[in-house]
């Protein structure tokens, strides 16, 4: 059981994620967008969206530090486990709560504004559910995951992190992960589910951070013959046809992709 969960599934997740990204890039550039709904509602979005996104950036870098930097290194520069844990608890906790509040604002906005709600697909709803679950369990792990049910101290940097790094060496340290607490296990499983979903949901927009904007010239010239003017978007994924009033009042809007 542990071998499947911590030794096999992570690689399957990786394959699906990478394959999915390639598939999306190759066949659905047209659907590669955050599908902004700011046009319908701006007030709540202006608070909720930056809060959520900046918090998730903080959380992301927190994960990088926690998972990728071995305990040995922080010990070497003289950060005690107690101080490290305290720092992680506060910074991670604040970022996590901000993330949760941001998500709550965004989900409330999505539900309360009818135009935004109608632009919400089933795909989006499932994605929100998984994302919310990952965040809640993550917070749970941060605040309660440091003691095992039997009352022993548990340090994720000696379990989860070691397992995570071992994945890259293709020698998954299954025991290390198995020794973790249930909060962390659930968070990791839910996280893997979320990663699998990335290529197939609007989460894809995270992978198009336009950093090249800082370096490109303002004016872009392109020759008509260059890319042969051909869209790589496949059939059935282009523009939606016009709908009539009766269709609008009876059918929910189809996915914009």
């Amino acid at each position: 059981m542990d071998v499947i969960a911590w030794g096999l599934i992570p690689y399957l997740v990786f394959i699906v994620f990478v394959g999915g990204m390639i598939w999306r890039y190759r066949f659905d550039q047209f659907g590669w967008t955050s599908r902004s709904s700011q046009m319908y509602e701006s007030k709540m979005l202006k608070i909720g969206s930056p809060l959520f996104h900046y918090a998730i950036l903080a959380v992301f870098f927190g994960h990088v530090v926690g998972l990728m930097i071995p305990k040995l290194w922080t010990d070497a520069v003289g950060i005690s486990q107690h101080n490290y844990h305290l720092g992680a608890l506060w910074v991670g906790g604040i970022a996590g709560v901000a993330l949760l509040v941001g998500l709550a604002i965004l989900i409330y906005r999505r539900r309360s504004n009818k135009a935004v709600f109608r632009a919400t697909t089933w795909n989006d709803k499932i994605m929100f559910l998984v994302l919310g679950f990952v965040i809640v369990v993550g917070l749970l792990a941060t605040f309660t995951g440091d003691t095992t049910p039997t009352g022993e101290e548990h340090n994720y940097r000696e379990t989860v992190s070691i397992w995570f790094r071992s994945l890259f060496l293709f020698q998954p340290d299954v025991e290390a992960m198995a020794a973790s607490t249930w909060q962390f296990k659930l968070h990791v499983l839910a996280g893997m589910l979320m990663i699998v979903m990335v290529p197939f949901t609007r989460l894809i927009h995270a992978f198009t951070v336009p950093l090249h904007f800082l370096f490109r010239p303002y004016i872009v010239y392109r020759s008509r013959g260059g890319r042969r003017g051909q869209s790589r978007t496949t059939k059935g994924r282009g523009w939606e046809p016009v709908r009539t009033a009766s269709e609008i009042s009876t059918k929910p809007p189809k996915s914009a992709r």
């Binding site: 967008t33 319908y40 930056p50 904007f213 008509r224 042969r228 051909q230 978007t233 009033a245 609008i248």
Partner: protein
């Protein structure tokens, strides 16, 4: 060291003669039927016609303090997007700080016609209620793209016209809104296909590009990621967000038609025949410097960027830059160049945005003429017209805010040219002695007045639209490109059409492909 050769590029440009616009909205409607009758674009009009004075569409878009469109010149003399630099844009990417919402355009709707057929027999007449195309709910219609059409509801809506607000505050002018004392004219607007487009500069993804061949500004639908910075960036608000697909869309100058030598749909269907399409040759390396001129010099700076297609040096440079002989010839016959730079009667819309727009306007004399007529004068007599142009400060100031960044003298000169042409040609038509002093008064030759008259009043289809075809060597690309406007599974087009089977994919039957096929059938040299 070899002398630096000047680069020359070609730009498709348009001029609209506002005196001829009757505000019938045919251009808007045909454009909508051709390009924006799709889901997510219900509120979008690539071409719209605005009544001035009025708020425009989206409402008050000219108020750049509010909407942050276009460029500004910084203190250090650099060109910067009004909405901020690149870092600021990236940091605020999670919620665009300045973004028009649906209600700034209008909430699109349809009518519940089904109710007319399906309601049971009753004493009351069944009605087709308006239903929002966004929420599906019943709605009250309170706005549209031309809600203040022909000064409808002017007292209420005109007060918010950004130009009127500015004139009131700065020049202490008060424009009367009472029906008999006001003036009005129509301004049809499409994308300006600017030489220095701020939508393009704002795009984090780099999805908006200018075509090297003809300068048309397009959005790569595959590369657009829906950040919507272009919408903030464009001061004319002529790039739109498709709220279903999450992508930006804009007027593309009907490029599938242009490439086969046909004018845009809006031009083709224009009832007043007020649109002119032709080429401009320009120096792309001079654009940024020109966009940095002082407000009042911007008009002249833009003229200077445009090159004289008959100048031998320009011709040599153009050939060296790869511009084909037929394109050069078209540039020489360009009605747009004639109106903009030869006669100097066309003016750019809001040059102060510093985007160097490529759709120019012959300002209307009609507000002046109408006022004269209403006061019982002979509105066509030269003396009266000239006097009125000088006396009627308000329409002049208003036009100057639209077309010359507030330079009234420039507008006055253009209107005087138009007035001189009218009076001069009236004498010609009525067989009275000609008055050469009319031409001299506006610094023109008599012959030039007559040529201008021909271009503005008589010019036939071929003279109004001088559009060279896209190049043969690229023609097979054109044929394949049908897919960009393709409709899958539509009945009515099989592989072989009336002109014999065409190679490659089936192309939907449209006036463009029809013209292509016809040309192919008749031209033995077609490969």
């Amino acid at each position: 060291m070899a002398p630096q050769r000047r680069r020359v590029m070609a730009q498709v440009a348009m001029v609209m003669n506002l005196d001829k616009c009757i505000g019938c909205h045919t251009c808007s409607v045909t454009c909508k039927q051709a390009w924006t009758n799709r889901s997510g674009l219900e509120y979008v009009w690539f071409n719209n016609v605005e009544t001035r004075p009025g708020q425009g569409y989206p409402r008050t878009y000219e108020d750049q303090e509010k909407w942050q469109g276009g460029w500004v010149r910084t203190r250090s003399g650099r060109l910067q997007l009004r909405s901020g630099g690149r870092f600021k844009k990236l940091l605020s990417i999670f919620a665009s700080p300045v973004q028009p919402e649906m209600h700034d355009y209008y909430e699109p709707w349809t009518y519940d016609y089904e109710n007319l057929f399906q309601s049971p027999l009753s004493d009351d007449f069944p009605v087709a209620r308006p239903k929002s195309l966004v929420t599906g709910d019943d709605m009250a219609i309170t706005a549209s793209a031309n809600w203040d059409d022909s000064l409808g509801g002017s007292e209420a809506s005109e007060a918010a016209d950004p130009i009127l607000v500015k004139l009131r505050e700065e020049a202490n002018l008060h424009i009367k809104t009472e029906y008999e004392k006001t003036f009005m004219f129509f301004v049809p607007r499409i994308c300006e296909h600017c030489l220095n487009p701020s939508c393009m500069a704002s795009c984090p993804s780099g999805a908006i590009y200018k075509r090297e061949e003809d300068g048309i500004v397009l959005v790569d639908q595959d590369r657009c990621r829906g950040w919507r910075q272009c919408i903030t960036g464009c001061p004319y608000k002529k790039i739109y967000f498709n709220h279903r697909t999450g992508k930006a869309e804009k007027c593309h100058f009907c490029y599938p038609r242009l490439e086969v030598g046909l004018p845009t749909v809006c031009s083709e269907t224009c009832v007043g025949r007020l649109r002119y399409i032709g080429l401009i040759l320009y120096d792309p390396d001079a654009v940024t410097a020109a966009a940095l001129a002082d407000d009042k010099d911007l008009y002249q700076a833009q003229l200077d960027v445009m090159l004289d297609p008959r100048d031998p040096q320009v011709i040599a440079d153009a050939k060296a830059s790869g511009i084909q002989p037929d394109w050069l010839e078209a540039a020489q016959r360009s009605p747009v160049y004639a109106l903009i730079k030869h006669f100097k009667v066309a003016l750019p819309l809001h040059p102060e945005y510093r985007t160097m727009p490529m759709v120019w306007y012959v300002p209307p004399l009609s507000p002046v003429v109408d006022l004269l007529k209403d006061q019982g004068h002979d509105s066509e007599a030269g003396g009266n017209l000239f006097g009125a142009i000088d006396a009627l400060r308000i329409p002049l100031e208003y036009l100057a805010e639209l077309f010359t960044a507030g330079d009234v003298e420039m507008v006055r000169l253009v209107l005087q040219k138009l007035a001189a042409m009218r009076s001069y040609m009236r004498d010609v038509t009525l067989g009275r002695p000609r008055q050469p002093e009319l031409a001299a008064a506006v610094g023109m030759e008599e012959r030039a007045l007559e040529q201008m008259y021909r271009l503005l009043a008589i010019a036939k289809y071929d003279e109004r639209y001088v559009i060279p075809k896209a190049h043969r060597e690229d023609a097979h690309n054109l044929e394949e490109m049908g897919c960009s406007i393709d409709v899958e599974g539509e009945p009515g087009f099989a592989n072989d059409d009336v002109f014999g089977s065409s190679s490659g994919r089936p192309v939907p039957v449209a006036i463009e492909s029809f013209a292509e096929a016809k040309a192919r059938q008749r031209d033995p040299g077609w490969q």
